[in-house]
């Protein structure tokens, strides 16, 4: 069993949880993820490792409350225990020492982006950050990025903070201003990552994206997480979750992510969803 050591509410939809998980904490790297089950009847649900502490043997996850599992997580308290917590899964990010990197985070995407930018900063890389979100309330980790000495721009849908518009509006601005990026890391909703790649691809700016297809085992056994990258089929749980965004077939990923939309909604309606 895996004890919940700490918990914080970041905003009305997003929470942070610190879990003791020795096997995950001692080897995990930025870019990797875990799969957890809240209880014996639970689904296996993946979450990115947002932070870790090797000495305390803890791992931090940040989740958005969207369905049953995340609702149960939200109802749990410090001292409660999760039934299963396996990882680290997936490949670590391939971070290179470059001149200047642009990190783009949409909503919750700031969570997986943060440990990568921290590592890049440790390597001496200049990092600019664009954070996009519905409104000011849903911006997370802004202060943490500032603490790393990054240059931050913000876009919100309603204009409550920063520019009113999308992260891609800021991206275009920066490119028009003539800022040269050696690479871009974009993590957020699929639509956002697709829009970013639509801009960076013609300019041939290397762009890494983090995909979150539906997963079961997370060990390469079921193939449910398969995605098309270039002319190859890759399993996101073992070959990813990060891929060369310029080669990803986003339309396919978006289609496959909707497989269980009806079922999840149905379970909510018949009362299996929220308790």
């Amino acid at each position: 069993m895996y004890e919940i050591i700490d918990k914080k509410v970041l905003n009305s939809a997003v929470e942070l949880m610190v879990v003791r998980a020795p096997f995950v904490a001692r080897r995990c790297e930025p870019g990797q993820f875990i799969i957890l089950r809240v209880d014996e009847e639970g689904e296996r649900v993946p979450f990115t490792i947002a932070d870790f502490n090797r000495e305390d043997e803890t791992v931090t996850i940040i989740y958005q409350i969207v369905g049953h599992t995340t609702e149960v997580l939200s109802s749990m308290k410090v001292g409660d225990k999760l039934c299963d917590f396996v990882g680290p899964l997936g490949k670590a990010s391939e971070l290179k020492k470059e001149e200047r990197v642009l990190g783009i985070a949409g909503g919750l995407g700031a969570a997986p982006l943060y440990p990568q930018i921290r590592k890049l900063r440790e390597m001496g890389v200049e990092c600019d950050i664009i954070i996009g979100s519905r409104s000011e309330e849903f911006i997370i980790l802004e202060e943490s990025f500032r603490g790393l000495g990054c240059n931050i721009s913000i876009a919100t849908d309603d204009g409550s903070k920063g520019v009113k518009g999308f992260v891609t509006d800021i991206l275009k601005d920066k490119i028009n201003q003539g800022i040269k990026y050696d690479s871009v890391i974009a993590i957020g909703p699929l639509i956002m990552m697709k829009a970013v790649v639509d801009i960076t691809k013609p300019l041939n700016i290397p762009t890494t994206v983090s995909l979150n297809p539906i997963m079961v085992d997370g060990t390469g056994m079921c193939g449910g997480c398969r995605v098309s990258v270039g002319d190859e089929t890759k399993f996101a749980c073992v070959d990813g979750p990060e891929f060369n965004g310029l080669l990803v077939d986003f339309d396919e990923v978006i289609n496959r992510q909707g497989i269980y939309k009806k079922e999840e909604e149905h379970m909510c309606k018949i009362g299996l969803g929220g308790k």
């Binding site: 080897r27 089950r37 689904e43 049953h68 396996v86 060990t219 390469g220 449910g224 073992v238 496959r256």
Partner: protein, 460 residues
């Protein structure tokens, strides 16, 4: 005088029309009277052909004589001396190619129903005798077992019996490998698998679930942590796809995903949290045990029409005869000498499958006649779901993360056949990870062989 009936005592089964709508076990097992009657067909041969046919050499005539004496506990102990999962093997061993294939009674009439008797003994003892365990004193030598399928369980059990301090590392949240996530409830009830595995772990085996060796900890780190030998029984879990157009449409599953959702994640129960969309018309591509299990599961989950699409003929079907027979009784439709060429979609979902008819040509190296497409025989079948069950290969994770572990091009770990030693010092391997997809009993045999070799290393 032995009972000279030419036929096995029949084992009762659920009616096909009822059972194809539930997940309860199909075959119901022998009663004590039926077991005694069947046991009396054994001739207690001097030349034990049957034993030679069993990959782990279960002392078959000896246990059957104990059954005749109605000393079921002794029968159980005799079986357990060579096979630590008899309730599992009695159900899923391909006996017709192994022990029963060699039984002298099979020369004229049917062989002795060794598998059914093995199952009876295991079930009877599990039901009637409370767990009794003889723990062995520890010798303090630490051994790690990677994977808890039949290979890992057999290796761990054998070493624990000899006093080794064994730890099993398993990636998933339950022990058992394919026995838990692959083979369905109606063929192998999970309750029985759990009970039988518990008997092994109760010998003092430590269990670490949720640990993916290669990611959570590497083989080299295990050695640094003081494990003096390591057995890899990580199976052949990587699904093969066909690489045809439309394979990534919604509604296309690998058999592994379909069966894992149904079994491990219990999607077969109405209140499961894990969804599984089955639809009305399901095509299962492939002709092995895995394909039969997927098809029969789909039928039970409510599909109206379930097809097996296989590119060779009836004779070539690699599945056990009994499973093909059960599938047909349950209404599975066989489209043989047929091969899919494309999966057609609409709005991102499977709509139909395009197939071509095949005919059998010359025999290839394996002696099987090679199927070839018949010209101008393409046709389209409407489907909601396609399940790909054309095979699995070993998962590449351990190969990629372990320096000095030699593997074949197709992914199997290379071992020394007598000892199951790999190219890496202190590391042994066995089961599907070495042979590619095979059988439960071969995996168990390999695990046991490695345990004996490991023990030799420390006792010489």
């Amino acid at each position: 005088m032995a009972n000279m009936s030419l036929h096995k005592v029949e084992m009762k089964e659920q009616d096909p029309k009822i059972r194809n709508q539930n997940f309860e076990e199909v075959a119901l097992g022998y009663t004590k009277e039926e077991a005694l009657e069947e046991a009396s067909r054994c001739l207690d041969c001097k030349q034990r052909f049957c034993v030679a046919g069993c990959p782990v050499n279960v002392p078959i005539p000896e246990f059957i004589q104990a059954v005749l004496d109605e000393d079921f506990l002794r029968a159980y102990e005799i079986i357990m001396s060579e096979n630590s999962l008899p309730a599992v093997c009695g159900r899923v061993c391909p006996q017709e190619n192994q022990c029963e294939n060699k039984c002298i009674r099979g020369k004229k009439g049917q062989p002795v129903a060794i598998g059914r008797l093995e199952r009876f003994v295991a079930d009877y003892v599990m039901e009637n005798y409370p767990d009794k365990i003889d723990k062995v004193e520890s010798n303090g030598i630490k051994v790690a077992v990677v994977g808890s399928g039949p290979a890992g369980i057999a290796c761990a059990g054998e070493l624990a019996k000899k006093g080794y301090d064994v730890t099993i590392f398993e990636a998933l949240h339950e022990l058992g490998g394919v026995l838990i996530y692959g083979i369905p409830e109606f063929r192998l009830p999970k309750d029985i698998v759990r009970k039988e595995i518990k008997k092994v772990t109760d010998l003092g085996v430590k269990v670490r679930k949720n640990v993916v060796v290669g990611r959570s900890i590497t083989i080299d780190e295990l050695i640094e942590e003081g494990f003096e030998a390591i057995f890899i029984g990580s199976g052949a879990g990587l699904p093969i796809f066909m690489n045809i157009e439309g394979e990534n449409l919604n509604g296309v599953y690998s058999a592994n995903e379909f069966l894992t959702r149904a079994n491990l994640m219990k999607a077969y129960l109405p209140d499961s949290r894990t969804p599984l969309i089955v639809g009305q018309k399901v095509a299962v591509v492939g002709g092995g045990n895995v394909a039969m299990d997927a098809a029969r599961t789909a039928k039970r989950m409510g599909a109206k029409e379930v097809y097996i699409i296989y590119r060779r003929g009836e004779e070539e079907l690699p599945a056990r005869l009994e499973e093909v027979h059960h599938a047909k009784e349950e209404g599975i439709i066989f489209k043989l000498l047929t091969n899919p060429t494309e999966i057609l979609g609409e709005d991102g979902w499977v709509k139909a499958i395009k197939c071509i008819e095949m005919e059998l040509g010359e025999a290839d190296e394996s002696g099987r006649r090679r199927p070839q497409p018949k010209p101008a025989s393409e046709h389209v079948l409407d489907m909601d779901t396609v399940i790909i069950a054309i095979g699995q290969t070993p998962n590449p994770l351990l190969r990629q993360t372990t320096k000095g572990l030699d593997t074949h091009d197709w992914g199997g770990i290379i071992v020394h056949e007598d000892t199951m030693e790999t190219s890496k010092e202190k590391v042994y391997a066995g089961g599907d990870a070495v042979t590619g997809a095979a059988t439960v009993i071969l995996a168990m045999g390999a695990g046991k062989k490695a345990a004996i070799a490991i023990d030799k290393e420390f006792t010489r």
